[in-house]
């Protein structure tokens, strides 16, 4: 055994369990995607099942629900990018302007806390607060003669409930990454601009925001990598028989056709479509960022 291997052997040994995890639970499923192109039946196995080519993809595009799924997925993403994405940046900018240290730490702790609350709990609290008849908020609305707000069952509220819950859970925690970037801004820039007579509004605009630009671009690219992933668990928990038309997205469709109805091949094809669109999106946005003179993610 030569010197390199003697030195490297323990290191490879450390990597081995992780390596096996990636092979078994990340890469074998990628090979498993091949069942999207065959009429897979668990009894016949992959090799025994009949090759059907693009049959399931044609079925997806012909599916009556396809446009609904696409519309719901894109609309929720649009809401998320427009309203949720800027929220942590705003929180970071606000916290950055606080001089009182204790106040800042206290507010930070409180705003981080929702990140540790599960979707089951968040959706559960919302259900309890808005339960028709007995829910705390609906009792007030009843007393004021405003009638109950059917927040969880009326489809028109679904998207906004989803968005507001996202903001409630994530806006504070998401600020951490921007606060870390803000701490690297040279403080002498602020001193110099104060000498020049700039007020604090102008400092935010001309020093703080430009200092955040790189991180914002990177987070934006990463966000687009998830354009087809909406956080399955949250949507799944918000879904009920009354709001199906606005709440079904590709992920819930995959779960329903694959695991409830046992249509493995079809649901895998839908999953592959979703993953490929996601991959193309992140590649596209990354290229766009580079062309605009920003650092990309890869």
């Amino acid at each position: 055994m030569n010197a390199y291997w003697k030195r490297a052997f323990p290191i490879y040994f450390m990597i081995l369990p992780g390596f096996l995890f990636f092979i078994i639970f990340k890469y074998i499923p990628m090979i498993g995607i091949s069942i999207a192109f065959i009429d897979y039946s668990p009894f016949k196995g992959i090799t025994g099942s009949e090759w059907v080519g693009l049959h399931y993809f044609r079925r997806l595009f012909a599916e009556g629900d396809f446009l609904v799924l696409l519309k719901n997925t894109l609309l929720l993403n649009l809401l998320d990018v427009v309203f949720f994405f800027p929220a942590p940046i705003l929180v970071a900018l606000l916290l950055n302007e606080v001089r009182a240290k204790r106040f800042k730490t206290a507010v930070q702790t409180i705003l981080y806390a929702p990140n540790f609350i599960s979707w089951v709990v968040i959706v559960g609290i919302t259900i309890l607060l808005f339960a028709t008849g007995s829910g705390g908020i609906n009792q007030i609305l009843d007393n004021w003669g405003l009638g109950p707000l059917e927040l969880m069952t009326d489809p028109q509220y679904f998207r906004w409930v989803w968005l507001l819950q996202n903001i409630w859970q994530g806006a504070g925690w998401g600020a951490i990454i921007f606060l870390a970037a803000l701490s690297t801004i040279d403080p002498t820039l602020y001193e110099a601009s104060t000498m020049d007579g700039a007020n604090r509004w102008r400092q935010v605009w001309h020093i703080t925001l430009p200092g955040l630009r790189n991180v914002i671009v990177i987070m934006f690219i990463l966000r687009f990598g998830h354009i087809m992933d909406l956080g399955f668990e949250h949507i799944f928990l918000l879904q009920n028989p009354m709001n199906q038309d606005v709440s079904k997205v590709f992920e819930t469709f995959i779960y329903k056709t694959g695991l409830i109805q046992g249509d493995y091949s079809y649901s895998t094809a839908v999953g592959l479509f979703k993953s490929v669109v996601g991959l193309v999106m992140v590649w596209f946005v990354n290229r766009l960022a580079k062309r605009m003179g920003q650092e990309g993610v890869f």
Binding site: P17, F22, K26, V120
Partner: protein, 288 residues
């Protein structure tokens, strides 16, 4: 000059006002749940909305602690989180440390293998079929193994290990102590804050997981806390559930107490570790 001072003052007032409002909104739902969890059903149904219960009672909590479904779900969640998090942090830090060695052959291929999974995945069904073919369904191992490593955490931890001074490695080489010795007695103690932070991140994921549990576990005896809570809150609710004539099985206080007992463990732990979040760990994650 006076004009600018006025603007700056307005700025400060606005900043504090918005932050106090945001903090109030973050706290309010939890505070309300806490209040109701100590109240009687009659007060909840007649008084409607309140912040301080007039009649203080522990009935909700007593009921839950005597409910075999709840205690079993709580125990399952503890086992799932404890073993799962231990496995997560050991595998992640070992792999991240190994991949931080710049001289290692195949390092860039291995790094790419980790990174690529952030961009593309086999998806829900193929992963489910792998877990099933390994006969892991209806066992905690399905969850422990299939979520053993979060790829993103490997990347962030790796860049942390890379940023450690290389003299550490040199001195260990001169001492003649091996890689394991170096890792366990020098690197790990120096990385305590980072390891603590990632332990918390994994713990949060494991404790709060709902979907992975319903995906891989059918046996009611294995049901973890989040799944139990979901059933308690939703299937008991006539506005959401399909059943036409649902009888309330649980009092409002019991439901609220269950929410509190589900959320509390993490809410107690995280402020202790908060000082580490703001440090370089997170920034490293951006630069990857």
């Amino acid at each position: 000059m006076r004009h600018e001072k006025g603007l700056d003052r307005l700025f400060t007032i606005l900043v504090y006002f918005i932050l106090i409002l945001a903090a109030a909104m973050a706290i309010f739902p939890l505070f309300y749940v806490l209040s109701v969890s100590f109240s009687t059903e009659i007060e909840y149904l007649t008084r409607g909305f309140f912040v301080i219960p007039k009649q203080f009672t522990l009935e909700g909590y007593m009921y839950l602690l005597g409910h075999p479904g709840f205690t079993s779900a709580f125990r399952n969640a503890v086992i799932l989180s404890a073993v799962g998090t231990a496995l997560n942090i050991v595998l992640t830090s070992l792999m991240a440390y190994g991949l931080s060695k710049r001289w290692l052959r195949f390092r860039s291929s291995l790094n790419f293998m980790v990174f690529f999974t952030l961009l593309f995945s086999g998806g829900m069904i193929p992963t489910y079929l792998v877990v099933r073919s390994l006969h892991l369904l209806d066992s905690f191992w399905a969850i422990w193994l299939s979520t053993a490593i979060a790829p993103f955490n490997v990347i962030v931890m790796r860049s942390f290990f890379q940023s450690m001074p290389s003299e550490l490695e040199e001195s260990a080489k001169i001492d003649g102590s091996g890689e394991w010795r170096l890792f366990l007695s020098i690197i790990v103690p120096l990385s305590k804050p980072v390891i603590a932070t990632f332990t918390l991140f994994y713990l949060v994921t494991n404790w709060n997981t709902y979907f992975t549990a319903i995906l891989y576990l059918n046996d009611a005896d294995l049901m973890p806390l989040q799944v139990f809570l979901r059933q308690m809150l939703v299937e008991d609710d006539p506005t959401i559930s399909n059943a036409s004539n649902v009888m309330y099985k649980y009092t409002p206080a019991a439901k609220m107490a269950a929410i509190i007992l589900t959320a509390l463990p993490l809410l107690v732990i995280f402020p202790i570790l908060q000082k580490h979040f703001n440090k370089g760990v997170m920034l490293g994650s951006v630069k990857g």
